[in-house]
């Protein structure tokens, strides 16, 4: 077991080194004077230029600059934002809970609807329900998330007035200091009547929009995995023993069918974060995706560099965790190598 974990961890180290190299190289590829790119000032005097060059270490040989960069990353220094002068890491951490809240809720929606729907479709294979669900899942795969968001805003918020258009909570009615950064939890802790419901109200539409793609994937994956499992001998045995269909499907079949589904969920973190960039932009959701896009428009390259580094690190770590967990759940994988 320990060997399995260690080998997985070892495999991600070269990926990390390559990632650090990519982000290091990226900021040097930005056209323009490297000092101006990092300091954000234009037409600086030669003295200031020399000072900044020294301060930023740009007068050092390139391999030393890279090692310095790696050294700073390892000490948690992801650079300083040009537009706010804050540390990129602290800015990221302030916004990150909003993104986590959004993505986790999206995944919850996908799982809670997708798994039962996929399982029912497999059991009632070829039925009307199955056909509609599979059709909807193709549409879900193909949905441009930003348009889907706009469409739902148009219907639910503008036409029917059911949900708010943007933001995480009604800031005029409710105000409280953030404790955890998760609006739902903070609202529940705040003792303000209606705050929690209002936060939930703000969350539901963006979470559904972001959850649409994983919902399509989870439903389809559950269906095909379930179809395979339903043909297995142990399911036939369970049926022959006279167990109720609910027990056979719910306990024996579904539990085994879920192993590949869990992997797919874990591995879709990257796709989810890509979607979060668009969803946050549409709903003015103050998370890291929106922040990343805004830093591009502000030409805040250090923030972009640090942000990409942090997001990618996260995705790599989650994939690693999924990989390890998969080995824990499924001993066949663990002993395969």
């Amino acid at each position: 077991m320990l060997r399995h974990i260690l080998s997985r961890v070892a495999l991600t180290i070269p990926t990390f080194i390559a990632l650090m190299f990519v982000t290091f190289a990226a900021i040097r590829l930005v056209p323009g004077d490297p000092v101006e790119v990092r300091v954000g000032e234009h037409g600086i005097s030669p003295e200031r230029l020399a000072m900044f060059r020294h301060q930023l270490g740009l007068d050092q040989p390139i391999w030393k600059q890279f090692l310095d960069y790696v050294w700073r990353l390892l000490h948690g220094d992801f650079g300083t934002s040009l537009s706010t002068n804050n540390k990129v890491l602290s800015e990221f951490l302030t916004l990150f809970p909003a993104t986590v809240e959004l993505t986790v809720s999206a995944m919850l929606i996908a799982v809670v609807i997708g798994i039962p729907a996929g399982a029912i479709a497999a059991v009632k294979r070829g039925s009307m329900f199955d056909q509609i669900l599979m059709g909807a899942s193709v549409a879900g795969f193909s949905m441009p998330i930003f348009w889907w968001g706009l469409l739902l805003i148009m219907l639910f918020s503008e036409r029917w007035g059911l949900t708010p258009v943007s933001g995480r909570i009604d800031l005029i009615k409710y105000y409280f200091e953030p404790v955890t950064g998760f609006m739902l939890i903070d609202a529940a802790l705040s003792d303000q009547r209606g705050a929690f419901l209002d936060a939930l109200h703000h969350l539901i539409l963006p979470a559904f929009v972001l959850g649409t793609l994983p919902l399509a994937v989870v439903a389809r994956m559950t269906r095909s995995s379930m179809l395979e499992v339903l043909n297995e001998d142990y399911v036939r045995t369970a049926r022959a023993k006279g167990l109720s269909p609910f027990r056979v499907i719910g306990l024996h079949a579904l539990r085994n069918a879920l192993i590949p589904v869990v992997t797919v969920i874990g591995l879709s973190v990257g796709a989810l974060l890509s979607g979060a960039v668009l969803t946050e932009t549409i709903f003015s959701w103050p998370g890291v995706g929106k922040w990343l896009i805004e830093s591009i428009f502000r030409r805040d390259y250090p923030a972009l560099q640090g942000g990409v580094m942090l997001i990618s690190t996260l995705v790599i770590l989650v994939s690693l965790a999924v990989d390890i967990l998969y080995g824990v759940i499924n001993p066949r994988i663990r002993h395969a190598r």
């Binding site: 070269p14 990926t15 390559a18 990632l19 990519v22 990226a26 590829l29 930005v30 056209p31 294979r125 070829g126 199955d130 056909q131 599979m134 059709g135 193709v138 549409a139 795969f141 193909s142 949905m143 441009p144 998330i145 930003f146 348009w147 889907w148 706009l150 469409l151 805003i153 148009m154 503008e158 179809l227 990257g270 796709a271 974060l273 890509s274 979607g275 960039v277 668009l278 932009t281 990343l292 896009i293 591009i296 428009f297 390259y301 972009l304 990409v308 997001i311 990618s312 995705v315 790599i316 994939s319």
Partner: protein
């Protein structure tokens, strides 16, 4: 819809007939999937629109009719046949922009697919043939690209090289390249172990020729399916970048960029927002259905499942 293969009625051609040509056999397998046929027809329609855009589009995609700003489509009150699908905030005809947009989206899709295939297939074949250090280096490179969320990577590339249509293609091709590289590596490795490759080697076929004309053609089936899906993914990603203002720049009638312009009219003129998105969804669904159909037709085992 993938429900169609469930019909067991029409099977493979029975042995009694003369052996049909591979293409005819492929087509008869493909035709079994009704969704795939429908998808292919829509794809053909979009391609025709793209090719004959200047013939069928009623207006120029960038001409601004100042007297008809935000004209409603023909079925709404106040709509006219002059602007069948209405006009946008600058008085440009939506239908014409959608038709020309098909050209841009398909071009992006095909260009991304072409560029990422050439690089990906080359890297994949090289990794499989040389193995060792080359394989490790290529695999790590593709790992890093895969670790980054696709849109975040595309956005990073765009931030460096600047937003434009060409750069959109480059950015998405970089994002999509590892998929082809991995696919090719895996299938080439399987093929390399087979007897016919050994036979070719023994007869003294040179490495380049061995990889390109002996191994590559046998890896094409999974590649074709992935390429079809790649086109639709590229269209979606490009539209996403266009929507963020990081893709094709105005006045290019790119579908995603059209949506970005339309956001302010979400309340007053919903059709300006609805139509470009509908064009994207229909095209992407059609390409995905075609890809599904190709996969089923290539792989008889899957066809029956």
């Amino acid at each position: 819809m993938t429900a169609a293969p469930d019909s067991f009625a029409i099977g493979a051609p029975s042995g009694a007939e003369a052996t049909p040509s591979p293409l005819a056999e492929f087509w008869s397998a493909y035709r079994e999937n009704r969704g795939a046929v429908a998808g292919l027809s829509v794809v053909a329609f979009v391609v025709l629109c793209a090719v004959f855009a200047n013939v069928i589009a009623p207006h120029s995609p960038i001409e601004q009719f100042r007297d008809a700003v935000r004209a409603p489509p023909v079925w709404e009150t106040g709509g006219s046949w002059k602007f069948v699908l209405g006009s946008d905030g600058l008085g440009r005809d939506t239908l014409s922009r959608l038709i020309f947009g098909a050209r841009i989206s398909l071009f992006i899709g095909l260009a991304v697919m072409g560029l990422s295939s050439v690089i990906g297939v080359t890297l994949g074949l090289a990794a499989a043939y040389f193995g060792g250090f080359v394989d490790v280096a290529i695999s790590r490179l593709t790992d890093v690209i895969w670790a980054l969320p696709s849109l975040v990577l595309a956005v990073l590339v765009i931030a460096i090289i600047g937003p434009s249509l060409t750069n959109t293609i480059i950015a998405i091709a970089i994002v999509y390249m590892p998929t082809f590289a991995r696919l090719m590596r895996a299938s080439a490795m399987t093929e390399l172990k087979k007897d016919y490759v050994t036979a070719a080697r023994v007869t003294g076929v040179r490495p380049l020729r061995l990889m390109l004309s002996t191994v590559l053609p046998n890896c094409l089936a999974p590649y074709t399916v992935q390429a079809a899906i790649g086109v639709s993914t590229a269209i979606l990603e490009a539209a996403g970048l266009g929507f963020l203002g990081l893709g094709a720049q105005p006045p290019t009638p790119e579908w995603g960029a059209m949506l970005a312009d339309a956001r302010e009219f979400i309340r007053s003129d919903p059709w300006i927002v609805t139509l470009p998105g509908l064009a994207i969804v229909i095209t992407v669904v059609a390409i995905n259905l075609t890809g599904d159909g190709l996969r089923d037709a290539f792989d008889p085992k899957l066809r029956r499942s």
